[in-house]
């Protein structure tokens, strides 16, 4: 149902990023110089980014970089106090997660997704169960719910053994994917994935990354939050790097390489500082040399003059 319409969107947007109906340039979601402070603590400042249909925007940063604050603003849990936040070109301030959901923005959190003792199909429709019949005989349409669950998950590339199985028996990656498929089925246009690969092994991470691409190919705008550039680079179209609540770079994929991304994340300055500390301690010659080489390598590839995307 959504498929056709959004594939058109996707192609159109890939060409000139214009709304296919009005032919004016518009992003599905855009932030311009957005900032947020709690009392006198500045959690986020001057963040600019955009999300489009069929594109993946990656938000990278270490712990405390402001990633959580950023997604909380987009998911309606917090409100920004500076800058503008637009959905389909319209300036908005979301007051609750419900309002975000109604605007088509769904967040999938790492652990807050499913009730592990319940069967997969019950989880899939939890809170939005399909019913049939009326009055006291109003009941769940179990057969249809099972069928839809199986089909939707198959479309995401998850081949289920049995939708009756408790969701707790699935692997972490699969559980994450059920949550993603659920968000997609219930009409999400923007999908926020909060560190979906953080607790997963190499293979499982690969599975989740593939589902991110599946969601993208179905025409969704995806915001992928991670601290791992190796996960972000293969799937991302745009990369926003955060550090200490500030944007330290916003790149199109064509403007940056994985090495540069990693270097930016790792931070040449930190490595230099570590080298200095080791020098003062003395007696760590071997380690010191390694850190120094590393720091030099980082400094070399760091993209000083890369064009920063401004919308």
């Amino acid at each position: 149902m959504i498929m056709n319409a959004q594939q058109i969107d996707q192609q159109t947007l890939l060409k000139d990023e214009k709304d296919p109906l009005t032919h004016t340039p518009v992003h599905l979601l855009s932030l311009e110089n957005v900032g947020k402070h709690y009392g006198n603590i500045i959690a986020l400042r001057d963040v600019t980014m955009a999300v489009d249909n069929g594109r993946v925007t990656c938000v990278l940063g270490d712990n405390g970089a402001g990633k959580s604050t950023l997604i909380k603003i987009i998911a309606g849990l917090h409100q920004h106090d500076e800058g503008t936040f637009r959905i389909m070109g319209e300036e908005r301030k979301l007051s609750s997660p419900r309002e975000a959901l109604d605007s088509g923005i769904a967040a999938v959190y790492q652990d807050l997704a499913v009730v592990s003792l319940m069967p997969i199909w019950r989880n899939f429709f939890l809170g939005s169960e399909l019913t049939t019949g009326a009055g006291p005989f109003k009941r769940m349409d179990v057969a249809r719910m099972k069928e839809i669950t199986k089909k939707e998950l198959a479309d995401m590339g998850i081949d289920l053994r049995d939708v009756e199985q408790p969701i707790g028996q699935l692997s972490g990656g699969e559980r994450q994917c059920v949550a993603i498929a659920r968000a997609v089925y219930f009409g999400a246009k923007v999908l926020i994935l909060d560190e979906p690969t953080a607790a997963l092994g190499v293979k499982q991470s690969g599975v989740v990354l593939r589902y991110i691409l599946q969601a993208r190919d179905r025409g969704l705008g995806v915001i992928f939050i991670t601290h791992n550039p190796h996960h972000a680079f293969p799937v991302g179209d745009r990369f926003l790097l955060l550090k200490r609540g500030r944007s330290i770079g916003y790149y199109e994929k064509k403007d940056i390489t994985l090495e540069e991304l990693t270097a930016q994340m790792a931070g040449g300055a930190e490595l230099a500082e570590l080298a200095h500390e080791l020098e003062q301690l003395g007696g760590h010659a071997e380690a010191l040399n390694e850190v120094k080489t590393e720091a030099a390598a980082v400094a070399e590839v760091a993209p000083e003059d890369t064009t920063v995307v401004r919308d």
């Binding site: 009730v115 319940m118 169960e129 198959a154 590339g157 293979k203």
Partner: protein
Amino acid sequence: MTHTATAPASTALDERIGRRSPFQKLLGRPEVGALVGAVVLFLFFSLVSATFLQPNAFATVLYGSSTIGIMAVGVSLLMIGGEFDLSTGVAVISSALTASLTAWYFSLNAWVGVALALVVSLGIGFINGWILVKTKLPSFIVTLATFLMLTGLNLALTRLIGGSVSSPSIARLDGFDSARAVFASSVSIGGVEVKITVFFWVLLVAIASWILLRTRVGNWIFAVGGDANAARAVGVPVTKTKIGLFMAVGFCGWILGMHNLFAFDAVQSGEGVGNEFLYIIAAVIGGCLLTGGYGSAVGGAIGAFIFGMANKGIVYAQWNPDWFKFFLGLMLLLATIVNLIVKRRAELK
């Protein structure tokens, strides 16, 4: 599992699902441990007691089971919803006392007292649930407090209003006979008198099973018991579900309270203490997980039936009833261990 490419979803049977016989499927149900226990106990008492299998004796066993089972329905649902209620035993008596004392004091029609008792029973459930969700205190503390307060209120108000530890007789009030017919009559089936509570019990189990397995609310009950935060995040009304469950327990307490009252014409105000554990035991024997999110209404019913069989069976076997509590404890332990083993084995298959 392996993450190979998508297979057509419509295939009727996946090759990765090993063939499970209907028997193995049965073993995966929450109430199966209790069922095994019930069958064993049934055979045991049938062998040691000549009278156990006689229709009249069996009707008595069913009656004994129903007085526990009616409450076990509500308590099972509540336990699946992740909470438990220590005030149920005395709340039953509070309900009966409300009906008898108000009807007697104001010389009202007995049915007015019955209606008021329903309001009070649902009210107690509501207050339990409301305090729980507002304070986020564990249900153990909240309902323990309610238990103590109701115990005191039952004794104090009965003495204050009626002047005795027992509520005054309401046998001569209007509507007493019709209320007795509804709550405490017997139905003759093939010459055997079966108490009406048995039918209430069966009806409640059927309704509870329907709600649990086939309605949205049932889905929510499993969800709030399994993981309240996850449930809230996907839009399940956690607060309403929990309060509703406590009120359902109140409703069951009202039915049993009315039976206790109209089976005679008065209630002892000190009764009911300790019964709350019988209801919880029935639910646990029946396979409801104490931590919530798993169980069934039928399981609670089987738990109550085990209780009824043991209770009356000891009498029919002409043993000293002093042993009853010991057997109850032993059965609780055995049934839960069997539950655990059966569940693990079924999940491995």
